[in-house]
């Protein structure tokens, strides 16, 4: 277990850009983190000095822009993300990272199936940019057109991008897992050489995991949990997992956030 170097960087926010309803892309100058981060890893951001809100917020790394800028795509949820969205370029925040285990794309994939729900698109955008070989198919689900995050420009490597909305207001209508299911059913020939990489809400990931099992396609999922340390020290970020050890929980910040779908006890979620 070689230990990658984690850094706590006092980083300048270099830009903030609105990407969709309540979704912003932030660029943060963190050269140390940018240098080693891989897709699926995350950072813990202290949204302001002072004691409230107390804890850092975890965000996937959505990309790296040279030189040394870490991209974070975030959605407004509560006070922490509200504060984040009001930070002006030039101000500084404390960023801890890169943290956790990222995606491990299979070099032998002929096709990577990237499946995201909502803001879960963030780590997959980074992954799409870093995929070395094969082709990628990006399936991104959203509630409605106003939530859609445009990925076309970000994902030059993906010849196929499906936008799916629950209300059909943009792209195809339905759930992203429906599209995935169709794809897996349709193209039996591909299955053997494909892998799924997924991030999104738990019900979606459950469905993805069950499809991956049904069709025998390997699958990696990026999970979330409330976190305190992000470093594997507090044991706060437990998710029910399968393990040889007596410990029936896996820790998102250290064992994940990316797990083989088969290592999660989905039935306990």
């Amino acid at each position: 277990m070689s230990k990658a170097c984690v850094m706590d960087e006092n980083s300048e926010v270099v830009f903030q850009r609105k990407m969709a309803d309540g979704v912003f892309l932030m660029g943060i100058e963190s050269p140390g983190i940018a240098a080693t981060a891989i897709p699926g890893q995350f950072v813990m951001i202290r949204v302001r000095d002072g004691l409230d809100p107390l804890l850092r917020r975890p965000f996937s790394i959505c990309g790296i822009r040279e030189p040394g800028v870490v991209l974070v795509l975030y959605m407004l949820v509560g006070e922490g993300t509200q504060i984040l969205s009001r930070i002006l370029p030039g101000e500084r925040i404390s960023v801890l990272g890169p943290l956790g285990r990222g995606f491990k794309p299979d070099e032998k994939d002929s096709r990577a199936l990237l499946v995201s729900g909502g803001i879960g698109i963030a780590p997959l955008i980074f992954l799409a940019r870093r995929l070395r070989s094969g082709e990628a198919l990006f399936m991104a689900g959203f509630r409605s057109s106003r939530q859609v995050i445009q990925v076309r420009s970000a994902c030059l490597v993906c010849p196929e991008i499906y936008i799916v909305t629950e209300d059909g207001s943009e792209g195809e209508r339905g759930l992203v897992t429906d599209i995935l299911a169709e794809r897996l059913k349709g193209a039996a020939s591909e299955r053997g050489r494909s892998s799924i990489y997924a991030c999104g809400p738990v019900p979606m990931l459950k469905k993805v995991a069950s499809l991956s099992k049904e069709f025998g396609v390997p699958c990696q999922v990026s999970m979330e949990a409330h976190m305190a340390c992000g470093l594997g020290a507090c044991q706060g970020c437990a998710v029910p997992g399968k393990r040889a050890l007596a410990d029936a929980y896996l820790h998102v910040c250290k064992d994940g956030p990316v797990f083989p779908a088969g290592n999660i006890r989905w039935e306990s979620l």
Partner: protein, 305 residues
């Protein structure tokens, strides 16, 4: 001008400074190793160890609260054997005091743990957790009763070959009674406070937020309660008091020392700022120099009240 002497002695063990990383917030030390020189700490307390590995409580285990957090980890830990095999080799290579926090379901288990640590090198002190609110039996049930606290202390002290710190619960009517009882039973020092029992409700689901319903409150929110208990306890017993609860900077740490603490522990602050402990040490050093304090130990209990 000579440098201030930050060294303190707890139960015959010399710490290079009075700042210790608190149990459960600093893993087994190595998690923070990349972020600063752990050997600059006065000491570190490892996550509470039980005889058998424990998977801990169902998630969610963490919830943020105003200026604080609740945790219901439930003493998830790798267990004694794995600790000794996998973690102690790293820890015993450190030049900072390693304190092993232990937790049992029964007096017998506490005693067994103390016995099992006997003769192992690389450990300076034992901290006995009789105050965890997150486990069904044992834990806080011991710590809220002076008699039971004394019996656990006695059992550990008589089996251990290291000085014993007993970690006290704040969830009591009179913490001094428990402190006196464990002092009498042979504790070499007490540490306080562990977390206050608390709860959070998820309005959307009309259910508790934590999988375990209740959890332990830590962080700046509890600092006034912790300071008071340290102040009160230090006046009531003769053994050293190690203070903690909501310390985030050197000023907080000095307040505890002035109120009566011989050393302090940094818990939740490690999560907000992994360098919190070293910054506290640096701040204390500067304060002593600015105020011509020769020995930090001169400040302990110096409060004018």
């Amino acid at each position: 001008m000579t440098e201030a002497d930050l060294g303190v002695e707890i139960a015959g063990v010399k710490l290079k400074n009075p700042v210790i990383a608190a149990s459960g917030t600093f893993g087994y030390g190595e998690e923070y190793a990349g972020l600063f020189d752990i050997n600059s700490l006065g000491g570190l307390v490892v996550k509470g160890i039980s005889l058998k590995p424990r998977q801990g409580n169902p998630p969610p285990r963490i919830v943020e609260t105003p200026c604080g957090m609740l945790n219901s980890i439930g003493l998830a830990n790798i267990g004694l054997d794995a600790f000794v095999k996998e973690k102690l080799p790293y820890l015993s290579g450190l030049s900072t005091a390693v304190i092993v926090n232990i937790y049992g379901h029964s007096i017998k288990e506490y005693a067994e743990l103390a016995g099992a640590l006997k003769g192992l090198s690389g450990i300076s002190l034992i901290e006995v957790n009789i105050s965890c609110p997150n486990v069904e039996c044992g834990g806080m049930a011991f710590g809220t009763d002076p008699d039971m606290s004394a019996r656990v202390t006695d059992a550990v002290v008589s089996r251990a070959d290291l000085p014993v710190i007993v970690k006290l619960s704040p969830n009591v009517t009179d913490i001094r009674a428990v402190a006196r009882a464990v002092e009498k039973a042979g504790a070499s020092a007490v540490s306080l406070i562990n977390t206050l029992t608390g709860m959070a409700v998820d309005l959307g689901r009309r259910s508790p937020v934590l999988g375990n319903v209740i959890g332990g409150l830590s962080g700046p929110a509890i600092k006034p309660v912790a300071l008071y208990m340290v102040y009160q306890t230090a006046k009531s017993i003769g053994i050293p008091v190690i203070g903690m609860g909501g310390i985030v900077n050197y000023r907080d740490a000095l307040e505890f020392i002035i109120a009566g603490a011989s050393a302090v522990q940094i818990g939740t602050a490690n999560f907000i700022n992994p360098r919190a402990a070293v910054e506290v040490i640096e701040g204390i050093r500067q304060y002593c120099e600015t105020n011509a304090i020769a020995r930090i130990s001169d400040l302990t209990g110096s409060i004018r009240a």
